[in-house]
Symmetry: C2
Subunit: 437 residues, 2 copies
């Protein structure tokens, strides 16, 4: 680049522009290739995205062609176009989002249409000017109130789209009612086409390779637990390696895996809100306790903050901790790391397989014993003439590990509550179903 730019220095602006123009096709081509590569990578990372694009393409093409060749929409005439619009606007990546948007759109159109017809009936009691004033005042009051309602967190989470469609439909019907006696018929036709469009979107979304956001949330919660488990196991091996054991050649990627857990809150909440719409999934049903997943997620995040903390002690590893001290600490610390790691990974696998876990209690019991050992070790040790700076990092790691024990217990409790509320399969039932009979 330096050579190229120095070449330009002695030439006029036109030559420079010409050179730039000549280089343009190459640049554009490079950009196109880069874009195609990014697309390819995106598709490879999550092939469901490609499938989704094809699904949307098929659904919209079908609805458009139905409208285009008019066998289905003859009855609705021009209003048939609303079916096409509805499919475009309602079709989302996950079943939960599509169902949520479809139901929101249908209910909002229905209720706003009914309200607008009522307003119109009131307005016809007045003369021409009075009619405009009454409609104006009512539109103002209703639009301002509904807009304000959109700020409620509870409504915003699940009904935001519906409220915006409510405002839209209400204005559309009230305003077009003026001087048009057929507006009621038109409003009904639009309602039917919107219902048809919503159902087409929902049915295609559910029947062709559906993406259930509830499953995605479940997997995300399980994966986060697994990342924490991996970190803890890896940290134990890494930090408490004695000098004579030499350097590790392991992959260190586990040390960074948990980082994404730190900022997962908003994504999990959005997913839980969408998952509530997925009533018809055979696994989840009507009252699936999505809040319990969020609870596990929150506790996982609190544990991740502690790991962030542990991670910062890895840099003190080079400070030669007196081997004698580290040797004493090694056993209970590695025990805590490996048992809590195993417990978290066991929970992750239980959530993925939707079954209760019995072995996790075993790990928690081991964990408590190891924590007690570590506590009494720290309580009884006195190191004469030891340099504080050398001892402290390892001892502080010990304290954090002691803190991780109640963290893990809380996660286990939250999991067990989730498992009982969501009726996870019992392991012993499966092994010996005759016991219950």
């Amino acid at each position: 680049m330096d050579i190229a730019s120095s070449k330009f220095e002695n030439v006029g602006p036109f030559t420079r522009a010409w050179e730039w123009l000549k280089a343009l096709p190459v640049k554009l081509w490079a950009m196109a290739v880069e874009f195609a590569n990014k697309m390819k990578k995106l598709g490879q990372d999550d092939p469901r995205k490609i499938v989704h694009s094809l699904k949307v393409g098929v659904a919209i093409t079908l609805v458009s062609l139905f409208y285009y060749v008019r066998p289905l929409f003859d009855r609705f005439g021009e209003n048939g176009i609303w079916a096409v619009l509805t499919v475009v606007l309602v079709f989302e990546f996950s079943v939960g989002a599509t169902l949520g948007k479809g139901l929101n759109r249908m209910l909002a159109t229905l209720s706003a249409g009914a309200l607008a017809v009522g307003v119109d009936r009131v307005a016809t009691l007045f003369d021409r000017t009075g009619q405009a004033i009454v409609i104006g005042i009512l539109i103002f009051i209703i639009v301002a109130t509904v807009t304000f309602m959109r700020f409620f967190p509870a409504l915003k989470a699940r009904y935001d789209y519906g409220l915006s469609i409510f405002i839209m439909t209400f204005c559309l019907v009230s305003v077009s009612s003026y001087g048009d006696d057929e507006f009621l018929e038109m409003a009904c036709e639009r309602l039917y086409t919107i219902i048809i469009g919503s159902f087409i979107a929902i049915i295609v979304c559910i029947c062709v390779c559906p993406v259930w956001i509830g499953e995605t949330l479940q997997n995300q919660i399980a994966n986060n637990l697994e990342k924490l488990g991996n970190f803890l196991e890896g940290f134990g091996r890494e930090y408490f390696r004695l000098p004579e054991e030499g350097h590790s050649t392991d992959d260190k990627s586990f040390l960074y895996g948990y980082k994404s857990v730190l900022t997962s809150k908003d994504k999990e909440e959005t997913m839980a809100n969408l998952a509530r719409w997925e009533l018809w999934h055979y696994r989840f049903g009507f009252r699936h306790p999505w809040n319990r997943y969020l609870k596990v997620g929150t506790l996982t995040r609190q544990c991740a903050y502690k790991l962030e903390d542990l991670n910062s002690y890895l840099k003190y590893f080079e400070i030669q901790t007196p081997t004698e001290f580290r040797r004493e600490m090694q056993e209970p610390c590695i025990k805590i790391c490996s048992e809590s790691g195993k417990a978290l990974k066991e929970l992750a696998s239980a959530i993925k397989k939707i079954r209760q876990s019995t072995s996790v209690n075993f790990h928690v019991a081991n964990l408590k014993i190891a924590a007690e050992n570590l506590k009494s070790l720290l309580n009884t040790s006195t190191f004469e003439n030891a340099n504080l700076r050398e001892i402290i990092p390892t001892a502080a790691v010990g304290l954090i590990l002691i803190d991780i024990v109640p963290c893990t217990e809380k996660i286990v409790e939250a999991f067990q509550e989730l498992a009982s509320r969501a009726r996870f399969e019992r392991m012993d039932d499966r092994v010996s179903p005759s016991n219950d009979v």
Copy 2:
């Protein structure tokens, strides 16, 4: 409630249902009152939300009445309704969001309309069946491609609404072009009315009590820094209080203020994406370095993880740390807490006032000295016969505080880069403007 339910136990289901029905109005009234109270609280917490609702009400009422009494929309006939729809769908809380949606909608409608007209011209080369096939294939390809493009993080962040409107308009125009020679005129009229609607929304949003999302982001970043500063100052006073100084009666709320910083990532990113649309704000302009704010936000969050860690040591406060040791630690630790707290709060106030800071370097210099003192203290201390369990918590707090020093320095660096890129006002310029002349 227990008395009431026991009263029901001896009566039949009809009596029970009747009692329930009689109680219904009271319950509904209680719900309505609760709802009204929540609304009132929401409005008091952020009066801008009430103002926004009134703005939307006024804008939509005006557009609706214009359409209703037809002085302005006579030219557009039925298509005038698209202006009303556009105002409803484009009007958002912040100027950035409204501008983003408005520009997205206008550009997407224009480009999709043009593409659809082109597709129609190609399709007319074929006979009736061929036309349907060609349009079907082209709709499928374009819809699937654009749907896939919506997954690109860079496009999703800023152009998601535009891409969805692109698909909608493209389908609408291609499909309605069939057998209708006036479709081009209709498409143009809709484009005009959408442009009119977008401009009405944008102008009302900017002219009446505008909410600039860029300012909101700036304040959020500054408030987060302030929360961290408050925590550090409060923690220093709280943790290193010697027994003879007695218990504190201060408000402890500062200890929880920083918690919201831990999960602020997604909100900040959304705000920065919207703020990029606010080109016309006198303070920000075209190339305001929003990424630099995000950088400061990320480093603030990393510092907040360390505070979460410090917070967990407050519970060890009850363990009687040997006063002698704590007395030695007290001075450098309190110095680090107060100086880093002051530095962060100074940055917060500088960001709020959009000016550079000179005094922050003074605090950072003090901070470094205090950290060196603390390090040498930890390096040289040997406590014979000291119980590790009693010393470790305070020593670990010292280690974390040493870690907070580079954290603070990084935040200061990120701030200085932000201040120079965003051309924050120089303090010395303001005090003595004659120096530069």
